[in-house]
Symmetry: D3
Subunit: 321 residues, 6 copies
């Protein structure tokens, strides 16, 4: 049979080690030879409310095994496409950046090093947080791989400059990104309700050219209007805070905010983006499994990432890349 299920193991989802998508482990970052390298950054010292996102990478890896039992890739009948065929899209699990408790600076330096290694290997970095502070070293690692436009999907603007001396907490990453020379713009969607960013943070973001859209504004404007805020030809880094989604599907997170995105709203934007722009980096942050006994937050994260990767490489395939 063509799918080859009878050859080798059945390998049901609950069987075997938890690597991302059950793909091979490569923790020697100098030996990465792949299209995608998945890296965990299990850091949660930047959070301002519930900690626990340090177990995000493990939760997402475990959840991803549910979606990895198509031996010949994942067939999607809506799109009539087989995503991520094993022989065409080489994904490796690069393990985790080394975290040093009590020490944000050193932890972020370790994380930045890991992302730089992945970029040097020519693979697409897919980073599993950790809290949103881990976006800071990720963006820094692109200093020689820019320019990039950032698409942020999040409940919170995360545009605090400095407060009580804190510059690298989970309320600061977009401000830090905006300061980088290789970051040419930001599109921030899903932003809603009160958060640590005060009015002057919004003004600061807007003055730096950021586009800020709430969930309802995205719904009213439509997918294409969102994409229109990203310059044609821009290379896009996508940062997904799981709390950009509604708490009904993402309860396992540190700072939930009601009124978030539903599943297809985000996926349709990501699918269109994959077709229209080059996606050069991805992080997905703030999954805190201790607050989600049913595990649906982890499943959401895994499903979003696997499908988004599918869209990206299917678009590349169609483009003949």
């Amino acid at each position: 049979m063509s799918h080859g299920y009878e050859k080798g193991r059945l390998d049901l989802p609950f069987v075997g080690h938890c690597t991302f998508g059950k793909r091979p482990i490569v923790t020697d970052w100098d030996a990465i030879d792949a299209d995608v390298a998945v890296l965990g950054i299990p850091y949660d010292m930047g959070t301002q409310y519930r900690s626990g996102a340090r177990f995000g990478p493990r939760a997402i890896r475990e959840a991803s095994t549910l979606f990895s039992f198509g031996h010949g890739g994942a067939y999607d009948h809506e799109d009539d496409a087989t995503y991520l065929p094993l022989d065409q899209v080489r994904i490796v699990d690069a393990g985790d950046a080394d975290i040093v408790h009590t020490d944000t600076v050193r932890s972020h330096a370790n994380a930045e090093l890991a992302v730089r290694k992945i970029l040097a290997a020519g693979a697409l970095p897919v980073v599993l947080g950790g809290d949103h502070a881990i976006n800071i070293p990720c963006i820094r690692a692109f200093s020689e791989h820019g320019p990039i436009h950032i698409l942020q999907i999040d409940a919170h603007l995360d545009f605090v400059d400095v407060r009580h001396g804190v510059t690298e907490g989970h309320g600061n990453p977009m401000r830090r990104a905006a300061e980088q020379a290789h970051v040419t713009g930001l599109t921030q969607i899903g932003i809603r309700n009160v958060s640590s960013t005060a009015r002057e943070g919004y003004e600061d973001a807007r003055s730096r050219g950021s586009t800020i859209l709430s969930v309802r504004q995205v719904r009213k404007a439509g997918r294409d209007a969102v994409l229109a805020t990203i310059p044609a030809g821009a290379r896009v880094y996508v940062t997904i805070d799981i709390d950009g989604f509604d708490p009904s599907i993402a309860p396992g997170t540190g700072t939930p905010s009601h009124g978030g995105f539903l599943y297809y709203e985000v996926m349709e934007i990501l699918q269109a983006l994959a077709a229209s722009h080059a996606v050069v980096g991805i992080d997905l942050v703030e999954v805190a499994p201790a607050y989600d006994p049913s595990g649906i937050t982890g499943f959401l994260a895994a499903q979003v990432l696997l499908n988004f990767l599918g869209y990206i490489f299917e678009a590349k395939r169609k483009a003949g890349a």
Copy 2:
């Protein structure tokens, strides 16, 4: 007063044994004299990821007590109807099929026997799973009670023929059903994302005349288009995998899949179906309560079943049956 609440017990939902809808127990299947017989099949050896659906029948029975304290039936103000009046719709709880651990064949045989007894008694079988594999003996039991058209509500196509020798797991039931002489067609809705059914399973299903619609396709096409795929006059068996619903309302299941149906989307199809066709059997599967501490999955299952039964018998009453 007409409702009679002061006579006898108040019988609040949390009081008393957990039978389905607090209706009487009849475990002597040769003695069933009822319009509806509810049967549990607490089997979960067919699942490919999280087990635990063996406690589905108990969870649904417990949850159903919340909706059973209307002594004179359940008044619905939207429909201005009183559903399931105790004196007009006789529902009995037939207990569970006998499950034999490690032994799928024997367990399924026991389940098939039970459903045959209910059909022989002239009652509508309403089966509480268990994982979706339990649909296989249910459909077989209709061999002398066909022909039937199957309406499946599910995230997964469940159309695997055989893999590593497995033919009666929870990925196989629709393929097994399609093989039965007394099954004349399938309408499969809610199907989305990757699952154990590979591309050839879809092709197989379509070649056998199955209609396959995703959640988004159902939303776009509308309720009536779904019903139009069921031949006029067909006798319909409805199989509801709780993961056809969105994880936000059905987290307690073995293989959650984001992007599922919301409550009214399904109920409006079921209500229209009850008015347009004869419903001859129902199963609801894959409720795994260990993964849902808040219990909303069980409440969903109970609410769906009690309302669907209400629609069916109200339609019969209106039709003068």
Copy 3:
């Protein structure tokens, strides 16, 4: 800096005692000098299914700390407004009414006394339940502060007159309210599915002039049609049963009912109400945290109340009040 974050403490959400919105405690009710006084009524002996709403006030207070770290008020970019500036809207946490186990009459008397004290102080009472029975003493406390129109957001009509002698359980409050001379009308929205209110309860409600709308009826009619059921110039008391919301966002409650309101559906009604009418009292009931390990029900309650208060005082400010 204008926000003043560097002065004094950072005071992150997880730091410090749990008072509502981290506002000051005033348990000497004769000393209340505030615009808003938040009172807990941790009573749950009126429930007909799952108990536990007695911990509602503590859960909501804890959750509210997440939304209270804007030192200068809460900036909402969608509305371009800063809600609840600390120096303009004085909110105090008045602690809890004294509950006497086994004794509903005495507990309700204590609760009524507390609300009367708040009204006497000229503050807006915001009451945290407790089960919905606690609405009964709240409404009674308005006897000298009427007339009022009640807007109820709920899955259940709660219009039972008396059953087995019970007149002050959580199925009775709207019936009790309708009997009060100072209650001039009711608008009851979100009502759906079977509950303890039988058909005659609906007839009774309608005969007393109540408007009853299901979730789907509200969706079809639209926000303005809902508001149109409230007479112009009416002073409005809003009672929010958290089960009026969908179980996907409010699983932690005693009697969940699928098919409920989503977040913005309710918030847009409340925002419009704040602009069109005087809101003179609020209660939010039936949060039972033991059934919600992720805590999203408490976050919903806190978010609804803080935003609603923001709408009310922003409307007052605009009106020059």
Copy 4:
């Protein structure tokens, strides 16, 4: 084979309705013809902290199914005895007393009536709480079936006379019992730490002839010294508050208290008691399953009751009764 497992159903623990020990239901209390009748009293309005014991009866019934799959009785190799042979000890599940929300007096009256019916039928009443207040109607029901000595196993003395008018809460039952003419004495063991009973409650209890022993005092004195406090020939009613056990094995309760009894400490007292005295009534209270996701509290309750019943009837058998 002698055990007869192949005849009829395998009937694994997870299969079938949840009745106590999977024994038959008899809810027509005038028709009880049994050695033991198990009654639930799902009342929790008497608790002073965490509610939820109203689901105690359901949790204990569910848990008891784990210990009920010996078709020919339960063989205990330590005692080399087969306990509760189905053909010799007739146990029935009498369902629940009718509870009226908000109304303790009426609920207790209903409970007392149920226990009186069981006593009139000549069966041993085994009552599943509910909070400890339900002991009050149970003891009252013995007014024509005394005299009785009470053995209480509990963390708390429960000897409050009246406070804020409350006389029938879960802090009052032993004081109420001591007032009854047919109660000749109390042995109260496991009592420890602070509770609602103040110093004068202890003095009151002692002045009425009660023996009060802490966990450590029982350990030091030994089993026989405990039994020596019960007069020879006394007919004994045993009331077991699950919080008499250590929180490590009974976390699912309203008012946990560390330093409690371990399993065999209690069982050895109960086994000796069964051999030395006539046990005429039993209640087990305060199981609150919402606070115990692992379910071990329910298993403890079921195991204690089934073994205790085994001891009682084995002792009767040996005594030739």
Copy 5:
């Protein structure tokens, strides 16, 4: 009546704000006038495994309300003593030290300041962690209030000097303490199993005069032998890591270790210590409530602290202090 329950409120445990023991809040640390001041340090960036101890203070405060309803103090029948009479032992809740996310140095400085204020006020500091790193600023704060001997109850030695630059994580506090001039010795009990302290850490500790005893060694040696390791006349600071207790009673912690102390083993040491030495400071750390849905870890912490305080002040009273 002497207890005064009828005067004022009944004030059941579940009613009212969560302050430690329901005692008054004094967050102006210059205004503390009390025998005991309870301070939270909700810091968890020092942990090497599961985070979440930042919610320890809130969990312990909530749990302590269960043990605070004796209006006239807590009567203990085993000791025939009334502990912590409100009019004799003045306890205040001083709120939390200000925590700065990402910044251990600044957080610890804030914590040290708070403890210094309490010491300056002449109150006994009782500190609620947070992870064990918070012991570092606590001990530093005693620089002018020494000398002190430290009694540590813990599964782990916490004697790491420096690793990857980390000197103030939760594996370092005892090493840091041993360096302080005002710390004259350590008694470390409960230490067991593997942890972050390697062999050289043990050697280092012993060379600095520390006494290290495992749970089994304490059991064998007995309580008095433990106390004998503390010099007569020493002023003792007690640091209790909740994981010193067995996971059966303290599951809600970051790094559980089986084989720990049971309740009375610790309490009897603390009671004897209170009688033999002056206790000048206490901290209790590592309660992580997200990992304990039943809440027994918080109850343990509250029970340990309230009883320990009772022992201390009863000993002072007896000594005529």
Copy 6:
């Protein structure tokens, strides 16, 4: 420094992939070159009550990371030994046996093959269940590596021959083992309470030379008496059902039974066994993490296995092996 922590990564417990003890993965079973090979058998179709042990291997692996951060082995101060030094005891994680849903025969065959491969490689097999049925293929795999004596630690005798045709469920393994020519005897400890093994099962076991001891019998007899039931010179296979331990420390299991072993009771037997006999195989079964939100059952399993392995290789080292 000798421990080498500053070289390379800090590698905190929560960082990195979940392999057993963070040891390397070798899933090519023909390439195993190690002292110990850890294999998961995630099979749970043999259970008679709560399923979920299929996630035992993942839970134990995750928990084992907590105990694996000693870079130079695990120092135990009680024994003054460094266990499992990385350079002396080579442990590999061999992944999982391939499980085929619905098919016990094929799953067991796959498991047997895996254990045979490990034995062929000369490594000590350490197997993570799955339910206790997985012991059946494990013992079979020793057919060429006998004779063996089995030490079982368990609440249940598991000595059912056949019932309803079932011979390879979790109630059958010891009966199956006793039939094997290469199994020379059994020592079964911890056995207590009712289970699926009826009286004739006990008689059967005894007639085949098995020693059966309850928890209390082991406590009374002492460790040495237990070891004396194992013939001198016997090669011992140890099978540990986690429910042999008390539910207080092992709540996450399918069929909990109160009154089980505490931690040191078992560890001291295992340590003595390691010194007195050759241990040739180990399995640890029935960890079902879905029933243990605090995770202490997984920590227990990991701690037991890592310490037991430490004892074994330390004994070998001392013996000069």
